[in-house]
Symmetry: C2
Subunit: 220 residues, 2 copies
């Protein structure tokens, strides 16, 4: 009996993977038809994802921006975004360590997608799992904050391989930390030669301009 059930299980696993990919493809098609550029932001907890979004929203009043916030629990991040008047949906995964395409699909009717230029998706704070789940995004952006250290590409290679842009955040803390930016950039480019590495402080505004320029030149 076990010989009969084992071959029966393999297609089930494949079917589940395909289900996420299929929904992601549907999401991507839906976004493209509305000319919405979707940017999936992935990073560790506390790397500064929400702070970056708040600075970006403040700096780009000419763009119609929407946000999906992903967290295991709470809606503290969505509350901060909502205070700016930006359309935002909070997804609580209830324990799951990443967003997936069906979660995005369920959030989409709550956003005015016909009237958006950019949708930022702030993934769950996690440097490992989110990268395995396509959401239907246009681009992946990876954030790493200076306090996390310059050795992260060694330990979490998959995320650095998958992103279209790397942002090094909390640049204002540089005088107090031993972060070797040359070493970090070299490690990133060893994994992903095509991904630009930009440094910024959303707190002081230093370096923010290059990130804003990247967003504006990647609109669909």
């Amino acid at each position: 009996m076990s010989e009969q059930t084992i071959p029966g299980r393999v297609p089930v696993v494949q079917k589940l993977l395909t289900a996420n990919e299929q929904v992601a493809a549907d999401n991507r098609e839906y976004f493209a038809a509305r000319h919405v550029t979707v940017i999936n932001i992935m990073a560790s907890p506390g790397a500064g994802k929400t702070t970056l979004l708040l600075a970006t929203i403040a700096a780009l009043p000419e763009l119609r921006i929407g946000v999906i916030e992903g967290d295991v629990a709470s809606q503290v991040d969505a509350d901060k975004i909502a205070e700016t008047g930006t359309p935002v949906v909070q997804i609580n995964t209830g324990g799951a360590c990443h967003l997936d395409a069906p979660m995005i699909r369920r959030a989409m009717p709550e956003l005015p997608l016909d009237d958006l230029d950019v949708l930022f998706i702030e993934n769950v704070g996690n440097l490992i799992c989110p990268v395995s789940f396509d959401l239907g995004q246009s681009y992946n952006v990876g954030l790493i904050s200076l306090p996390e250290g310059d050795d992260k590409p060694y330990k979490y290679p998959a995320i650095f391989e998958a992103v279209d842009l790397v942002l090094v955040t909390k640049l204002d803390l540089r005088p107090y930390l031993d972060f070797n930016l040359d070493r970090f950039t070299e490690l990133v480019h060893g994994l992903n030669p095509d991904a630009p590495v930009l440094c910024l402080s959303a707190k002081t505004g230093e370096g923010l301009g290059e990130w804003l320029r990247w967003v504006k030149t990647h609109l669909g």
Copy 2:
């Protein structure tokens, strides 16, 4: 056919969960028989787990310490520990976002467990997944670094519920950050009234004494 296969699948999932718990129980018994206190350290990437271990090893020459390092990839952390002469095993999960009890089981023969007082397990950098997998540890310690922000208990409640001690690291960065320690401690105690919250900087040594005292008073 589907009605027959669905009930057949549920026990398989339960069996897998039980397998980890059973191996964890075996690990725990094995450690206890040798009077080895096992401390499972969980935190985000870059929270300062390895730096804390290096400072702890340097400060406690009277203890016989061993270390298991968990990472998705690389052995940079194990190399740092090995330089101190401390017995260390690197586990690479190859993509998995947490350690589990069988991984610990396989690493155990490579450590001189009959001659150790304390075994520190540095889990994979991840504030979500590791907490769901018992390893056979004596205690769970959660690290949160000041730059991650004081709102983390809202967003990642499970880890704060599961730990026996919370360490707030990178205290030397306090002058440059808006981390409200009272708010953070209140949030932690709302989830876990019994867990002490200690603050330290492994870099300057500030606050390290309370952590070392905690370790020494929790030896088996």
